[in-house]
């Protein structure tokens, strides 16, 4: 006994190491989830700012901003010059980014306007390369700027975003190059088949339709306005926040929350492809089991990805006459 009392035995050391291992193993997920909770708080705060910005925009202008003012995606086409940017441009003065807003010339297409005098900020000559922190969710795993060449503009020069305006349960398109068969199944949930009269409050066809509060007949607190998206999971986000066709007013609630379209590789199946023009246009986030949304009254809610799909449509719709409350 006298020999063993001089120090620790091997077994005792192993037990101590095992205990420490188990404790660290327990603690690490807790620390990680605390970090995710902090990121999520910052993420919902940004959505709150956007929701309040939309209210203030309506106070000033008498209607909500356009999802986008869009004519065509083709940079070569004459109508490309008539594009006037996305909702994220028009919201800038209402989220304390008036200087950035004033630097854009909205008599022209704002999407690829450059800083005056050949200036460059963080390696980007483009005004839309400026990262707007309110437009970025810290949980969003995509990088702050574009990863792929967008319309000939090199990676790292256009700032992406994590929130997009909802067109509610409105039909989507379908890319013939990668057609997702589930698009036809989820189409049964639509309440509108045209972007000119969207079932939700926003549309890329903002030159035809912008919503006023009286267009939101189901009630502002019962209608989804803006929700989460990820730049890795829908190609148009790579074009930056100022582009007219960048998912603003293009996200439909007919696809379930967190539908995974986060691959650039078409061989993994058309439904999972980030450029299929259908399931890519669903709300999605990196939060486990759901995503954040801001309603028309500025209230922010975390909605589970297992929400009843009909209830989700009624929350997305502004005037279907079947106002649903959040579960």
């Amino acid at each position: 006994m006298s020999r063993s009392s001089k120090g620790f035995t091997l077994v005792e050391l192993l037990v101590v190491i095992a205990i420490i291992g188990v404790l660290v193993g327990l603690l690490l997920p807790a620390v990680q989830s605390a970090r995710e909770a902090a990121r999520r708080m910052s993420c919902t705060n940004n959505l709150k700012q956007i929701g309040l910005g939309l209210q203030n925009y309506h106070d000033t202008n008498g209607d909500f901003p356009p999802g986008g003012i869009w004519w065509t995606n083709s940079p070569g086409a004459a109508n490309f010059a008539r594009n006037r940017g996305s909702m994220l441009v028009y919201l800038l003065p209402f989220i304390e980014e008036k200087t950035l807003y004033d630097s854009l010339d909205l008599e022209q297409n704002p999407c690829y306007q450059k800083f005056p005098g050949g200036a460059s900020v963080n390696g980007s000559p483009y005004i839309a390369g400026t990262v707007v922190s309110v437009y970025r969710c810290p949980s969003d795993p995509s990088p702050p700027r574009n990863e792929i060449v967008a319309d000939g503009i090199q990676p790292g020069q256009l700032a992406m975003f994590s929130y997009a305006a909802s067109k509610g349960p409105t039909r989507t398109g379908n890319n013939a190059a990668g057609s997702c068969p589930e698009r036809a199944a989820y189409d049964a949930y639509n309440y509108s088949t045209t972007d000119n009269v969207p079932a939700g409050p926003f549309t890329r066809m903002g030159r035809v339709f912008t919503a006023t509060m009286s267009d939101v007949e189901d009630g502002l607190s019962k209608t989804i306005f803006v929700g989460e998206v990820m730049g890795n999971c829908a190609l148009p986000i790579q074009r930056g926040w100022a582009h007219s066709s960048n998912t603003q007013g293009m996200i439909s609630t007919i696809y379930p929350i967190n539908y995974d379209t986060c691959t650039q590789d078409l061989s993994k199946g058309p439904c999972a492809w980030w450029n299929n023009w259908s399931t890519e246009f669903g709300f999605k986030s990196a939060h486990p089991s759901g995503a954040n949304f801001v309603m028309g009254d500025g209230s922010v809610h975390f909605v589970s990805e297992t929400i009843d799909h009909w209830t989700y449509q009624r929350l997305g719709g502004r005037n279907e006459g079947e106002a649903a409350s959040l579960p």
């Binding site: 063993s4 009392s5 035995t9 077994v11 005792e12 037990v15 101590v16 095992a18 205990i19 188990v22 404790l23 327990l26 065509t72 995606n73 083709s74 409105t170 039909r171 989507t172 398109g173 379908n174 890319n175 013939a176 057609s179 068969p181 589930e182 698009r183 036809a184 199944a185 989820y186 189409d187 049964a188 088949t193 045209t194 972007d195 890329r204 148009p236 066709s245 293009m250 379930p256 450029n275 023009w277 246009f281 089991s289 990805e305 297992t306 929400i307 009843d308 799909h309 009909w310 209830t311």
Partner: protein, 147 residues
């Protein structure tokens, strides 16, 4: 004796830790695997999407048919099935679009179906299936005839 207490203490702590670790997962929906076959006019239909909408509310389950018309439903993880309980069912086969060839990215195009349109919505198809654990494969038969 002292070292014995140490070991006892360690064992007790590890047991407590193991107990703490159990039963902490989030409670998801109750699902049951569903497999089956889709027949159109008695023939297996390939490339059709079967959708199960839980009538009590929930996320739809979907599955794509293979060359033999067979499908397996997925709600959250591949092959996990559909919500237990009554589900309303839709079956759609999307044709390669002719109209969407001329539209721009994100522009709405018509949905062109290669299956009878009256089965295209779970609300209108009239097909309901009661999903249970350990249920046998289901056979979904369609016909072009209007009823």
């Amino acid at each position: 004796m002292k070292s014995c207490n140490w070991r006892l203490c360690a064992v007790v702590m590890m047991a407590a830790v193991a107990l703490l670790g159990t039963g902490c997962g989030p409670a998801g929906p109750v699902l049951a695997p569903v497999e089956g076959v889709v027949l159109l006019e008695g023939e297996p239909l390939e490339g059709a999407v079967v959708l199960f909408q839980p009538e009590a509310g929930g996320k739809p389950a979907t599955g794509l048919t293979d060359a033999a018309g067979k499908f397996s439903l997925t709600t959250l993880e591949k092959g996990d099935g559909a919500y237990v309980g009554v589900n309303s069912v839709s079956i759609t086969k999307q044709l390669p679009s002719t109209s969407s060839a001329n539209v721009e990215e994100g522009e709405i195009s018509e949905v062109e179906l290669g299956s009878p349109p009256r089965y295209a919505s779970p609300a209108l198809s009239g097909i309901t299936i009661n999903v249970e654990k350990g249920m046998p494969p289901v056979t979904l038969e369609m016909t072009w005839e209007e009823q």
